[in-house]
């Protein structure tokens, strides 16, 4: 009798202590691939978020609480993502961030919306730093979802505006990953090229299975055979680097218009191809032309993590999150969301940035960069190649805005 009583007391003490400990940290669940074909991308993102959390904690945390990033490996597939999201919910995590893959993103957005409907008062927030299928802020939009990267159509609009002024482009080959994002890219490319440069001939339109192919030489052979002078691709992670590696092996001489050529292994592969200033990427900004504060951050980040800042948008995400939590003096999803939507701030790469209330899309300036030998005075090269990104085109945030069909249900 006494024994069970003592055990009961001990148990009660433990249980009462646990919530108190949990409330001292703000946990952010990072749901992205940490194994399988997307592992190198996921690990890079995790390092980025850990660095940003450390930066916040070093400045005293948020409302006196420390920020902690909890890694959750979704192996790159939507089913595993939902398992990890439920795990996060069970662990009391109410802020989730994800960015590698729109199939995952759409599934997660749907799950978060349904979960939040069924659990008022215990809602979960989904901060999206990389899933850019336009549907996520249009017909599938959600009040609890905030996206920090420009969507496929916005990026393609910036890219095709840049391509409009390049008369040497005559034949374009499209190669993308076979899922919602890749399909959105090739649809947008066809539509926007047809509108802005109807003289350009699209000589190939390929969809490759996501993160499965390790040998792209058959695809390079096809690109060669088509006579294309330019390739547009939304490939990311190993699909981008292996594509470039195969292009280097075969000596393919084309221009590359990409979304994610600066991914891990990309710069090394580009240097191998020898294509100086012929690989282009559209991004929030590039370090060699970033404002001084951003360059300082880049230097510190590279020194600590041994990699470049791949995600200026992750910096924007964490900083706006910190601002929202501080302004709201609370860290539950509802208070944060109320502060985040409509927020106006300055972007990591300079210039005005804001979170649109209608669809929760974040708008910043965009830049087009080309990869090649560094200009004199430029500080940042990539992956020890001696080559770096040079900004050759810029788009103001206001010019990137596209209309939305979102009609979100507000709590």
């Amino acid at each position: 009798m006494v024994k069970s009583g003592l055990a009961g007391c001990a148990l009660a003490l433990c249980l009462s202590a646990a919530p108190a400990l949990a409330q001292d940290t703000i946990k952010i669940g990072y749901i992205d691939p940490l194994s399988g074909g997307g592992a190198s991308t996921g690990e890079g993102g995790l390092k980025t978020f850990n660095f940003l959390a450390d930066e916040i904690n070093a400045a005293g945390g948020l409302n006196g609480k420390k920020v902690q990033i909890v890694p959750l490996d979704n192996k790159g597939n939507p089913q595993e993502t939902l398992i990890q999201a439920q795990k996060a919910a069970d662990d009391g995590i109410h802020i989730i961030t994800q960015g590698d893959g729109s199939a995952v993103g759409i599934a997660l957005e749907d799950w978060v919306t349904k979960f939040d409907q069924r659990n008022p008062g215990n809602e979960i927030l989904y901060l999206n730093y990389g899933a850019i299928d336009p549907a996520m802020t249009n017909d599938k939009c959600s009040y609890w979802h905030f996206r920090y990267e420009a969507d496929v159509n916005m990026l393609m609009a910036a890219m095709t505006n840049f391509m409009k002024g390049r008369p040497n482009i005559k034949k374009v080959y499209l190669i993308n990953q076979d899922y919602s994002f890749g399909q959105a890219v090739h649809v947008a490319a066809r539509a926007m090229l047809g509108e802005k440069r109807p003289d350009i001939q699209i000589v190939g339109d390929e969809l490759v299975p996501l993160l499965k192919v390790t040998d792209f030489s058959p695809y390079i052979a096809k690109i060669k055979a088509s006579g294309a002078d330019s390739v547009i691709t939304g490939n990311w992670g190993q699909d981008m680097t292996l594509l470039l590696k195969a292009a280097a092996d075969a000596g393919l001489q084309t221009d590359w218009y990409t979304y994610y050529a600066s991914a891990v292994g990309g710069p090394l592969a580009i240097k191998q191809t020898g294509l100086a200033n012929r690989v282009f990427e559209v991004q929030e900004g590039f370090p060699n032309s970033a404002p001084e504060a951003a360059q300082k951050f880049e230097t510190a980040f590279r020194a600590k993590e041994g990699m470049s800042v791949w995600y200026p948008r992750a910096v924007n995400e964490m900083r706006t999150l910190a601002k929202a939590i501080t302004l709201a003096k609370a860290d539950d999803a509802k208070s944060i969301a109320a502060q985040l939507e409509g927020m106006k701030t300055e972007a990591f790469d300079g210039g005005d940035a804001w979170m649109r209330k209608d669809d929760h899309q974040f708008f910043t300036n965009l830049s087009i960069g080309s990869f090649g030998p560094l200009d004199p005075g430029a500080k940042f090269d990539e992956e020890g190649t001696g080559w770096g990104w040079k900004t050759i085109g810029a788009v103001e945030a206001a010019d990137t805005v596209l209309p939305t069909t979102c009609k979100m249900e507000r709590p």
Binding site: Y219, A221, A225, A250
Partner: protein, 311 residues
Amino acid sequence: MLQLITFSTLNGVLYGMLLFMMASGLTLIFSMMGVLNFAHASFYMLGAYFGFEISRRIGFWPGFIVAPLAVGGVGALVERYGLRRLHRLGHVSELLFTFGLAFVIEELVRIFWGNLPVNYSVPPSLDFVAFRLFDTTYPAYRMFMLLTAVAMFAALLVGLTRTRIGIIIQAALTHPDMVAMLGHDVPRIFMLVFGAGAALAGLAGVIAGPALVTQPSMAASLGPILFVVIVVGGLGSLGGAFAASLLIGLVQTFAVAMNYSLAGIFGSTAPPFLGDLWQVTVAELAPIIPYVLLVLMLIVRPTGLMGTRET
């Protein structure tokens, strides 16, 4: 067009030879011992990682010799201390053992080398352009892979047909009980064959590692194709494994290059019940074509192309 055909043939033959290097070991093991070795692709992965470690510390060429032998040693140990005990319990136990072993090896690789791909790169001595045809270059390293695979096939052929142990192994392929009754040390032969099969898979890993990515998921991505090769080629037949490997290598590589779809042939209005299937191109179907071949083969001719035994 000619350029596409030439390079697709070269790449297809290369992929086929790589598959054969692994399939030959698997077919020998299955035919002799009746064990379907699910961990065979794991030996391939171990070969790549051992090759990486040795090339990192000493050099690529020492790794080329030592790594397959090391994997063969691991295989022999697995047979001696694992499979041999399960032999009397029947084929299902052996199969489950190799199935579990595949998972264990993958986890061990993740623990020792991490989840990310490792930088197992082409050695500088082979990092040049072999030839230039129709203004596409072909890397020398791929020619080296092709030559190694051909040399291995030749060595296997000579070893099996002209040496004494080779003749015993051939006999044990189709009549294992008879061979045992004739007084040969069948368990020793089993261990030798299992180790040799593993070493062949390891060799495939050592040379494929730099060309394809060396990462923990490489076993899982190649594993299923191996079984297709074995079944399509026929059990108990090395020649069948060779033919099937080349067939699948070429079919998959050529399929990627073909953009034909039903829509392209018959026009873009699809009949109501087919919908999206109408638009699908052969290139998109390329990854599943080997499995379609597997199913067809099992329905039409279960012994495979040149098989001598039924499953």
